[in-house]
Symmetry: none
Subunit: 325 residues, 3 copies
């Protein structure tokens, strides 16, 4: 589909959230189709997890987004989908890889939303493909358990904050879940949630550095709990770490099932987004350092630094490996 | 246009905000057309004020909204527009008046957005129409000055609030102003702002009473300051007063021109919305009383009570007058 | 309603698809209202066919679209609606006819979606009006039968295509049908389908000629099969013919009822769109010739040429007739 003005920021760069939403829609379609390919209980594939994804090159208004999806692994109860997004400038014909993403879906019965169905197995061309897929499956399973424990944190408001402190840029939005946000089962599409998360993270980043910003990468996101139609969701973001040219923002999604439901507010999703600030020529700009005040802020800054250095080292290793081949 | 699921709440009632947005679009079209009807500098009519409006009967998904607009008065620099909204059930043919609204627009030059142009005068059928219009014009002018002074207030966050207190239901959302939210001059349509205000007020009301709620009326809204494309707007709402069967919510809109602008955050709009809680059969339900804690909350409650009693008295007087005729 | 940036391409011309969607909504309202005007089973009018329509002058961002609809003929089970779209520049007051369209609707029972109800007859001012309407009715009936047979064709992907071949520009998009795309009966609005078709056809045309393009006309479109909520639809387009200054694109819509339905993918709609390429001054530009490779492509090119020459001859005849009067 062609990118429109509303998909982009003032500088014409398409929001990362718009791209994440397209990726998730493609993944939901291919995995729902696969899970219904054999006779049996009809089901809808629900997003369980998105692996870390890097935004390799910005997409602009007027370009066409080409999204392709492929099923790369199936476990008993989950499907791994690989989605590629290419941006195509239809005036020049130039195509660029915007990003690659890996998503995990789980089939839920249309009749009983709490019942997870079995996934028809796919055929692998080679035995190694299956083994590698199984390894990825085990790794993400472990990681999902870990984040579930981390999720208890709460964001507190700050009165009259100083510029460049955590409190100064932290932001939150509320959204009433409407019918168009939901799947056939009446639960919010993972892509809709990710778009809202990117929107809040982008506002936090822009408030901090007051320049034009773009999404550089999104950490793995786990969807522990479904969010139902009619809920109010609160999406909150705060800056956790800055390097010379990047900002890391932690985003929480809390759901409030306030009409006709006895349930308390609960944490549905959390994730880390990384943003960079771009000059008018599209070059990365230096970012003001984050001022940490409380013990918690200092601890989160150090944890963010750890993630930053780890990613940097991983990328360097990949480049060296590529150079040797 | 036909009302869609996205225009309505879970019970199928169209959001007051959707209706306010349609009203404002109709008003903007007719007044821009009128102000450009004589040769001269081209201009765009900007919303300056909406008079108090009552939602007389709810509109539902699948019904058609018929919006009609008429210019009823012109001063040297402003246009008064009367807009009627009828809901039509195209299956039964039944039509009902949903609401009537009076809006004031000011023509701004396309070349210089800070220049207010002159309005071509309209012809009145009778001299009394002009005199009554002039009286309405003077009244609203006075009222606009008054609210401008009230606007300094700020909403502070509350930690761990008790149910039914002000802090418990207060809510805010942030929205990044995109191109489709704006007029040709690059400023947010008044209707877009009103829709967001209704969204926040509705969430405050639902958080307070935890049932299905609908907009019953909107107090006069004054648009003191324009909001530019690329701003982040924060829309905040808090409950100020409850009667037996209604809730009054005060809503603020603050604009943050944070990219490429030296300007501070400023208060753009504020207004009072009244909501009622409806049973499944569409009958008004009792509302839990608002618990006021601080001196300010108690003062605002008394002020809200004043507005409530004044409106009630006015309505009674109108009914008696109607009965005598 | 006022045309927004999202309704238009980068050059500011409103998409033909946006206009088709407004036309269809107006037609659906007036024909549903008519079919329910007599006591009887409640029904919803479903779009069966749109006659060929020419886009006479482009509409731009900021202009107001005035849509008017009139019922011009009724058969026992169908309604013919004539819709006119005028673009109005509210700054200058200039109005231009954008296009005229003729649509056919069929009333389906609200209780049983497979039951076609009877249409209350309209009164004709003159007997000739009824006769002419009957002639149009018979002609479209014949044409609908013919296209139903043509619909079996499938579009295959091409690897590494040469510029200006059919495979080079062919495109497809998938869309998951949501609640806001649907009527009260839970089927996709014809206007939503046409908007997606225009989007794909526009991408095919832009890929071929790499300039700014606009919809010039749409061939008659027949809606053979309804598309249900929850379906995935695949909209595919390929170029069939180029004249010196126009491109003809064939568009297919296939529906995949993949959840909860034993049914196979089926062809729901197909149509021909004609596009022209415009310079910055709005003048038509020459178009690169389409390179046909396979026998099928050559055959479709000749068929397209036939349609092109036929339309040209018809238009010439109309102009001569107009000149003689």
């Amino acid at each position: 589909r062609i990118m429109r003005p509303d998909d982009a920021n003032i500088a014409g760069n398409v929001h990362g959230g718009t791209i994440l939403k397209m990726i998730e829609e493609a993944g939901a379609i291919i995995s729902t189709r696969h899970c219904n390919s054999q006779a049996g209980e009809p089901c809808v594939a629900a997003l369980a997890r998105v692996e870390r994804t890097d935004f390799l090159s910005p997409m602009c208004i007027g370009e066409v987004a080409n999204v392709s999806a492929e099923i790369t692994y199936t476990s008993r109860h989950s499907v791994e989908v690989q989605v590629n997004v290419m941006s195509e400038n239809i005036l020049t014909g130039a195509k660029k890889l915007t990003n690659k993403a890996t998503l995990w879906y789980v089939p839920l019965s249309l009749k009983n939303v709490n019942k997870v169905l079995e996934v028809p197995p796919i055929q692998y061309a080679r035995k190694e493909q299956e083994d590698e897929g199984k390894k990825r499956y085990e790794e993400q399973k472990l990681d999902r358990l870990e984040t579930k424990q981390r999720n208890g944190d709460v964001m507190l408001p700050v009165i009259n904050p100083e510029p460049h402190t955590v409190g100064y840029s932290q932001s939150s939005l509320i959204h009433l879940v409407g019918p168009s946000d939901c799947t056939l089962l009446g639960f919010v599409h993972g892509g809709v949630t990710m778009k809202l998360m990117d929107e809040v993270a982008g506002i936090v980043a822009a408030r901090h550095c007051k320049t034009n910003i773009v999404t550089a990468s999104v950490d793995a996101i786990n969807f522990h709990e479904k969010i139902k139609k009619g809920c109010v969701i609160t999406v909150s973001g705060r800056m956790t770490f800055t390097s010379n040219k990047s900002m890391e923002i932690e985003v929480f999604v809390d759901a409030d099932p306030f009409v006709d439901e006895p349930r308390e507010r609960y944490r549905a999703v959390s994730a880390f987004f990384t943003y960079v600030s771009l000059s008018k020529e599209g070059k990365p700009l230096p970012v003001p350092q984050l001022l940490t005040e409380t013990e918690d802020e200092k601890r989160r800054f150090e944890e963010g630094k750890g993630r930053y250095l780890q990613t940097k080292a991983k990328r360097q290793a990949q480049m060296e490996q590529a150079a040797q081949q």
